[in-house]
Symmetry: C2
Subunit: 307 residues, 2 copies
């Protein structure tokens, strides 16, 4: 199995290293960390100690790859200015399956349009993992991966990738309806990600401890959009999200981490796309619209300060 | 006319100085700025240059006053921990009218309960004025004052105070229905004050330039609460607020100024009291509830950082 990982951040490095451990030939396209990773590879610190991941090739452009891979995993954030199509263009050969590992709603359509002849696998990672320095990854908790073909179904290639991850020891699930799974994950993300930023940096435990009914209202609105879109979620979705979060250690969301590092946030992928979906379907989503409007203002203010 | 101003901040100093100019005997209760103001008085810089205001007495406690005043103007912010009743207790004699000059909804009830035998005048200041240092006030624009008895009516004392302000050259209006006027002012305050803070510091022009429909949604909800409470506002209230704000120079709200200075914000007076009012009357106010929940989280985060 030949794999190219695009993105030497936490997610790409972690899920690439697992496949390499299973004997796959895993190369890595790094951008800002290219020089460091080419020389040193990647160190992943987890509960079982530090593991070293030496990619088969480290490139800073897909054109430098000697062979086209069976899978290309795009593990970059879905943010404004990220040219995902451009990153994939030179990476895919006729038989390459494209795998998107990222958060958000409706993030596949752009890629499906640009690469109509390719198998498109959509993936969700449930993991706490952070890039602490170039080539240094800290794996804090979890790791579950959900994979499914876009817009739905499970192909042989999806099943094969899933098996490789299962053999690597993580929980990987092939999901017949990945779009529903995206809505399901968005229930948590659309609430805690923006609230952590707008509160000025509260961790999940404090958000839930003081404004649980507000968190619930946002979750209910995502569920209402999903239902209107044809993806009804289980009745206990809110309860499970709340009780699960209550059991988690106080957690800094990825959007807060990006915000504090002055990196672009996945506002559109996680929030904007959901809001537009809801507005198209005429679902009443005033709490989501409020949070989205405020995040757009915050983004504008950030741009003013950092210019 | 004997007057005691409580609060040597921008509002108290400005409105105190105007009465002194008209020949009233105006004393000032200062707290943090007591020593400086006692020695130097107050300098007010405006478009007509710098004016000096020397209070008849400067005290740091009302008990130090030699005589009880005809009017005591409480010009402090309505924030948690501000003991307004305690500040007034030693200031009022049997014939002292209490005048509250501050933003917010429902801020009179606590004072009316504590001083049932006293005339209570409720006031709204439409002014851009800032305390730049102890005893230094910068008057940037406006100055209109609206006064009315709580809960409604216009007494002789209110009329007399209003006349004094008119003679001092500012637009002062005696309002038969001050509670309706409070709701009217809250339409602007409940939108722009929290949004300026939650956006991380945007001025009014940028808020309106990017999120006008969100601003309108908040304003409409305040108007709906006011209507349910028996204070219907004119049909063009939102339009006038928007067009007026568009004509203003980009303006930093008072809540943003307090936030940036790490001072307590008038979240409850401006937002919390309105939200609770709406909830009691079962008005649908999801945008306001969102903004209020976020401000409470921001306040919590601020307390964590500054402790």
């Amino acid at each position: 199995m030949k794999v190219l990982i695009i993105g030497a951040g936490a997610v790409g490095s972690f899920y690439g290293s697992l496949l390499a451990k299973q004997g796959a030939e895993v190369s890595l396209l790094a951008r800002s960390d290219y020089l460091y990773v080419k020389e040193h590879g990647i160190e992943i610190e987890g509960k079982q100690g530090v593991q070293h991941f030496q990619p088969a090739q480290v490139v800073n452009s897909a054109a430098a790859m000697t062979e086209k891979p069976d899978y290309v995993l795009l593990c970059t954030k879905v943010v404004e200015g990220a040219d995902r199509v451009g990153l994939l263009k030179d990476a895919v050969g006729p038989n390459t399956a494209i795998v998107l590992v990222s958060n958000g709603i409706d993030i596949e359509a752009e890629i499906a349009r640009a690469f109509p002849g390719h198998e498109l696998i959509s993936g969700l990672a449930f993991i706490c993992v952070t890039r602490t320095a170039p080539g240094k990854i800290l794996h804090q908790a979890y790791g579950r991966l959900v994979l499914g073909n876009y817009p739905r179904g499970i192909s042989e290639k999806t099943q094969a990738l899933c098996s490789a991850y299962q053999q690597a020891g993580i929980h990987c699930e092939a999901n017949e309806n990945i779009t529903a799974a995206r809505w399901q994950k968005c229930v948590w993300n659309a609430a805690f990600n923006p609230l952590s930023v707008l509160s000025g940096g509260l961790a999940t435990a404090d958000i839930l401890g003081t404004q649980e009914s507000f968190v619930r209202a946002i979750m209910e609105e995502i569920i209402a959009i999903a239902k209107a879109a044809g993806y009804p979620l289980p009745d206990d979705t809110v309860e499970l999200n709340i009780s699960h979060t209550r059991k988690m250690p106080p957690y800094k969301t990825s959007m807060l981490v990006d915000y504090e590092a002055e990196r672009p946030m996945e506002i559109e992928a996680i929030l904007g796309n959901a809001v537009r979906y809801g507005q198209r379907l005429k679902v009443s989503i005033p709490h989501l619209e409020s949070v989205y409007a405020l995040m757009k203002m915050r983004e504008l203010q950030l741009a003013k300060v950092t210019v």
